[in-house]
Subunit: 473 residues, 2 copies
């Protein structure tokens, strides 16, 4: 059936309704059959490109034809992040209500720059983020703001720290100035690469980033941080920012925020805490001890799109000094001047417009409730520790890092294997190519380590059992 | 009816299907009844906040209750960007198929960092952007990459320009270096504030940004650009980047790219073209003359979420030197190392993960086709010029800027009114408060100017007639 498409305007209402229902049903089926699809796309590089026309069509196509290509061309090219056996990188997944939030946000198509261009987004966001703050047991002096990714949240945090120096960098910049010393930022050798990207972008240079060694548990050595700052001060450098991590990307190790905060305070250094992954675990009472000292941070980033069942993207930056954030970025062009004394979200970042991202998080917090979310994260931690116990009890495997949250770093170490690195890399590749599960890797003390992350809302004990069986085959 | 919610896992399939259908129907109705809703939210600041609980619920709620609050609380707080009488800022709107794209993208929940984590997004994106490039009549040497907003696209362009200097800024930064002169970026006094934010963030400082005066048509004066560069070179500064705009935010004025490119070439300056708004008009053959010289640019930004019926956010940066972009940002942590020699999207920007944004643009280009999109943009330009003719023919109004695209800058200037600024501001506020239409303003040569933008996929001649009647009442 060829659809009647008007020469102007949008898709007719009845077509929207019909196709919309088809898509909802398709997604419902997708969520159900996902477990039988290969986790990693079996495509080879170029497979999708080679099936696509080289130019856009001149005349419009029936949407039915477009949609059938989603099943035919797109689905085989998708790596199923929601799959219960996606254990690579960090296992993240959306919930159904998260999808509902994105549907409505797309329909409203808000660009929340000024309050008046979206009172809904401007006012829902701080409320929902305050709900989350309470769940995370953070003090009320933290104010949240949503960005797209943790990379961008952290970029804003370090920009704030730079602005706090009061060295007229916003106005005069850093080049061609004899009065500025080398500025220094501190993190550990386990810190996420987004810190490197932020210092590059900010013009501080990779040289400004000091990577403090970690202990045997991959936690920043606070003594060495102290020493590095002392040395830098003696050398005439200017320490101004430190990044502590709760839940590093490689092993989910936990820096001692309390100790680091104390050092920062003594040296007047801005402290940013990267809890992009593990921040969601702060809602679980028995896990809150990992975040001891978080109240002393100047800013904290957490990503509900990682472990709070919210579709990508939604990263939250909590800051104590909202005025400093505004001072770092606010610029109001004439065509954006308004008489109201209201919050205008454009004043708090490099992006002028913002999507209505709080809607999906509001849905998630309300549909599952605080208890429902705690139960799900608690279960993931239980499953990871169960897997850890299997590793520890086996003669053919060994644990390579502590398991504070829901990531297990381990390797196969059967007797009589000489090159364990090659053996484990092959093991990982075989499992990944089988489509049954997706594991990723890291290097720990020079050893090739397998990483198993538990985070899908669909993950059950049988999925962990399946991976364990695959590893033992 | 209280829903049975499992203690773990996601919403049951039948609930997803039922609520999903309800949401689709609600959106279908919303698109239809939108015209009868006030364009600007009638809410007062705090109205939404005051209706929301101060904490998240402990126990999960029925989704039916959550969804009913969308109609009750959220809808009145929404400013309807899709409304055919949204003429403020830039009138932008989503299409139905754009919403479909976001539904599926949310369900797939791709984080396209590595090729293997989303072959679908990694491979569809360059294809769809090449389709758009051809439609825009840009040479094949331009490669597209999607970011969230034009602010971020432009930030990346200027970062590339800085990297191209080969001054080890990525490695050594800019502070504490006696060898670096003041770096200089050029734009016009009509350029978007995102350029200011970019130079602030990059550590170049607002002082590095030279705003070249514009002529009576609000176009950058190329002679003055030449002179400014010459003066800066004499002063020992280092000119390295210029931003030309096609379709400025205030008036949609058009800088002469060809002339500016020639100056940049002679001075070895990176040329970025900001066509965030007007880039979509490049697909219309009779409008392409505005972009003469675009082929000489190093980078061009255009936002399909502005005028190509694609939901926010989707900004495209076209660059000639993709390797330079990679060199500016690429950093590969151990846990992200892969054996394949493939494109990994994380290498091309500050954001590590990327949403599957190309899907919605693919839907838009296929459903409407090249001809359907041209017809819609052409109609908007026709409507804006029709409105312009009414202004010109009226004794009570005057035109304040040329109309190259679909924005009219004008004011009421009836006889016997002393304070025209106050008169026009009141006129605008009255119309905006009526809910019938939304106009915004700017200042042109010291005069308070009304801005009427035509861009909604729903805009028809009767909507423009309505605004004209309101203005004349």
């Amino acid at each position: 059936m060829t659809e009647q498409k008007p020469p102007l305007g949008d898709m007719p209402k009845e077509d929207f309704r019909r196709h919309g229902h088809e898509i909802v049903d398709w997604i419902a089926d997708y969520f159900e059959r996902m477990e039988n699809l290969p986790v990693l796309s079996p495509n080879q590089p170029g497979d999708l490109v080679n099936q696509l026309p080289k130019s856009a069509p001149d005349a419009g196509e029936d949407f039915a034809d477009v949609f059938s290509d989603v099943e035919r061309l797109i689905l085989p090219a998708v790596t199923h992040w929601n799959h219960p056996n996606f254990h690579g990188l960090f296992s993240t997944s959306t919930s159904a209500v998260g999808v509902f939030g994105e549907m409505l946000a797309a329909a409203f198509d808000q660009k929340a720059m000024l309050w008046r261009t979206s009172p809904a987004s401007t006012e829902l966001e701080p409320i929902v983020l305050d709900w989350l703050r309470q769940m995370m047991n953070l003090p009320a002096e933290f104010h949240g703001i949503i960005y797209d990714t943790a990379s961008v949240s952290t970029l804003h945090a370090i920009a704030m720290a730079r602005e706090k120096l009061n060295l007229r960098i916003r106005e005069d910049g850093m080049s061609g100035r004899a009065d500025l010393p080398l500025l220094r930022v501190y993190c550990s050798d386990q810190t996420h690469s987004s810190i490197d990207k932020a210092v590059i972008l900010l013009g501080l240079g990779q040289k400004s980033l000091v990577k403090i060694p970690t202990n045997e548990r991959f936690e920043m050595d606070a003594e060495k941080l102290s020493a590095a700052i002392r040395d830098d001060l003696s050398a005439g450098f200017l320490p101004f920012c430190a990044v502590a991590t709760v839940g590093t990307t490689s092993t989910t190790s936990v820096d001692d925020i309390e100790k680091i905060a104390d050092i920062c305070k003594r040296n007047n250094i801005f402290l940013h805490v990267d809890a992009a992954y593990a921040g969601s675990a702060m809602i679980v009472p028995e896990l809150q001890f990992h975040f001891k000292g978080a109240q002393f941070a100047d800013s904290i980033v957490t990503n509900p799109h990682k472990w709070l069942f919210t579709p990508f993207d939604l990263s939250v930056l909590y800051v104590k000094d909202l005025d400093l954030l505004k001072k770092t970025f606010s610029l109001v062009a004439e065509y954006l001047k308004v008489a109201e004394t209201v919050t205008n979200q454009m004043d708090y970042g490099v992006q002028l417009g913002r999507r209505f991202r709080s809607l999906k998080l509001w849905f998630v917090l309300r549909y599952f409730g605080r208890e429902g979310l705690i139960a799900r994260i608690r279960e993931h931690v239980r499953l990871a520790n169960l897997f850890k116990s299997w590793v520890e009890e086996s003669e053919n495997f060994e644990l390579l890092a502590p398991v504070p949250f829901a990531l297990v770093c381990f390797r196969a170490a059967p007797p009589n294997i000489e090159d364990l690195d090659a053996f484990n890399e092959n093991l990982m590749n075989e499992i990944n190519q089988s489509g049954e599960a997706y594991l990723s890797h890291t290097k720990l003390n020079g050893k090739f380590a397998l990483r198993l992350s538990v985070g899908s809302i669909r993950a059950r004990e049988r999925h962990l059992r399946k991976v364990w069986d695959l590893l033992n085959e």
